[in-house]
Symmetry: none
Subunit: 150 residues, 4 copies
């Protein structure tokens, strides 16, 4: 079952979030995680979150960020984070989570959903090749603070 | 001179915006352009804009979008659009415009500035390699409306 | 005007074909060019060709090859060659030629049109990004004869 | 042992074909699979197929499509599908299957063999770098029907 994340999910959401960050060899200060979880539940700053629940256990998460665009009056939606725990992989959970984010984006009138992935992440890209359209873009960043490890 | 775009710039901003869109073989409905210009000047929806002015003539533009992030309490800043008119290329205008966006991002406390460019745009990337850090990302999109041509 | 290539076009088709090959720093034996032109006109071996004509002058060409597929009962169509002479570039001729090949492919019941381009050919890709969908593929070849320079 | 696929192989060929499609997260209507198998055995529409057999068990498959070319009088050969079952990986079966397709292509006078693979499929590419030559191409597609999922 895919559903919006709520305050009550913190205990089970946290290890998924940490597994996701570990995949990217990142860690975040607890205050950042606290803020992120709070804003996902409160749908503040454009953030929203979905979780996949199976028999009372959370097995996956997906986070979106809705934000303005100069190319459309409508906002766009960034699929910021997607993670499925090892035991639930290969069962369609990732796709269902993406579908939930796309559906939410449609509901709020977003013009598109977009996301980034490592070019060499074959497992993820073999799914993304099915549900999205690959763009001819590369991504550059200028880090401004030590806070974002991305 | 790099300065924030204002309501009075519409006549000169418009051909730069159209030149930029033409580069990407895009065109946008006038209502989208109207909305974008208005929001850039009013700094609404996280949008802001800078222009490069030389002897009273606008020769370049850069637009940013500040939005929330799940990886930091601070927002991040998307450098959405960057364009320098043909006559002013190779004179450091693009870099000065990027610097202005980065400076604004720093001022509003953003954790990072990021942008997309075509992987095959050698001219742009030779600059971006100097001012930013290449990420190993590729970008996927799910278009939801006909409004965003990107 | 976009129309099918005919036997009478040889004199004007040839310099376009040679301009196209020169772009790829290739040359082909006259017997290959003779065979290709004959088969394009006769629509033999799955080959077909379109030319763009302006005021009696040919300014562009596009060649397709229809062939079998293991993923569909319907054949697929390879957009093999596309070239627009320097004077006619930027006028929508390339897009009109692609449209003609896609239309022909549709007429013969093909399941898809696909093509290759150099990853660094920004001019071509900025168009292709508009009319087609980028795939996550790379291409490998084993040359078997000296005949194909590709 | 590498040998041409025959009508009698259907029972063992089918799970390999399905494993191959599952790798690409695809499924095809039974009528497409029926048609593909029949044409591979009958060598119709340019299609042909090889299987790897070990102690009476099929452990791999490779399919080719011979089709016309505008760059050579001779046809070219597309290595369309290649799959080795999990238990037989790392034993040289994939290479032997490619060799069989290349050999068949040579026999029918093809000018080259070419194939596509996901840019992020490191396992496959480490083999392809040995047996083929990487081209600087990217691939674009225009899907025309719902039949081809590629």
């Amino acid at each position: 079952m895919i559903r919006a994340v709520t305050d009550n999910d913190r205990m089970q959401w946290q290890p998924l979030w940490e597994g996701y960050l570990r995949f990217y060899r990142q860690s975040l200060p607890p205050a950042v995680t606290d803020s992120t979880f709070e804003r996902l539940c409160a749908r503040r700053d454009g953030l929203f979150g979905y979780v996949a629940e199976e028999a009372g256990t959370l097995v996956g998460l997906a986070h979106g960020v809705v934000h303005g665009s100069t190319w459309s009056r409508a906002p766009v939606c960034y699929l910021s984070d997607l993670f499925v725990g090892p035991a639930a992989r290969g069962t369609g959970v990732a796709r269902a989570l993406i579908d939930a984010v796309v559906s939410e984006a449609r509901t709020v009138g977003a013009a598109e959903v977009y996301w980034h992935t490592q070019e060499f992440n074959g497992r993820a890209r073999s799914l993304y090749d099915q549900v999205g359209e690959l763009r001819s873009w590369v991504v550059y960043e200028v880090p401004l603070t030590g806070e974002t490890p991305g």
